[in-house]
Subunit: 143 residues, 2 copies
Amino acid sequence: MTSDKKLKDILHQYGLKGTTARIIVLDVLVQSQVALSHADILSRIHGEDLDKVTLYRTLSSFVSVGLAHKVANEDRNWLYALLLQNNRRVGIDDHAHFICDQCERIYCLPMDAEDTISVPVMDNGFVIRSHEYRLHGTCPECN
Amino acid sequence: MTSDKKLKDILHQYGLKGTTARIIVLDVLVQSQVALSHADILSRIHGEDLDKVTLYRTLSSFVSVGLAHKVANEDRNWLYALLLQNNRRVGIDDHAHFICDQCERIYCLPMDAEDTISVPVMDNGFVIRSHEYRLHGTCPECN
DNA sequence: GTTTAATTGCAACTTTGTTGCATTATTTGT
DNA sequence: ACAAATAATGCAACAAAGTTGCAATTAAAC
Ligand SMILES: [Mn+2]
Ligand SMILES: [Mn+2]
Ligand SMILES: [Zn+2]
Ligand SMILES: [Zn+2]
């Protein structure tokens, strides 16, 4: 329910053309509190019809410019979520994911500096550059 | 290069029949220090030929009895590794994974009790039951 | 408004993994 | 060592997710 003008502006800020396909998809992603699959997004589009390939390419474009990121679910399908959380860009390495083992929803968890993760003791020769942290359990919707 | 008798004994310990396919696959997994894909395993088998479906089912049987576990790589293909580390069974929840971003190898990292991971601050309503930790960087082979 | 380059839709394709079923091999009991 | 029972195997067909090539369309810039 964000205005097309606002959505178009966001697309332009990220160097993308403000096409109707992108506006539709961005609107769906802005609405969602959880990461969405290709199928999830299609099912959230009513009258408008959008080719499946166009949707794949739209999502790829969002990821490549840093507007969105993708995370694999337990079935190893890609889910997509914006890196914008109420107009602030969240760093991709600065957040973890919560996977609800019941409803399979995936929530992005921005982490503060205090939320440090202590790494396991590594054999010599391994150089750690980043890390990926996935929490499993049940979400508020399932409790 | 483990004797067939020894491999067969391991299979029996886990309640599996000691078939030739399983002996071949288990031998490959015992040898490897990293997790292996379906394709990796096929490429490590010389004279013996093994149907692709049989290999998939062999790996599933190893996982379902707790002899092996599987972990998805960056391409979202399954990699398999034993839960036996020199005759001791490693808990599946008690270890992390190191992904080499250069050679794509995945190493299992058994974690001691000291190697605690501090969790990010969660909104109320989330119940955490387990976690999954993936470290990225470059491995000893690539340094 | 025209031009130009990017985006879209369609069809065909790829890759990884799964399912059904008839054949074969491993156990178990004699 | 042999036979019966049961589980594993091989083959072909299938499924799901995602990709590629290309001609037609559209957004942006002039
Ligand atoms: Mn996220
Ligand atoms: Mn592992
Ligand atoms: Zn849930
Ligand atoms: Zn490496």
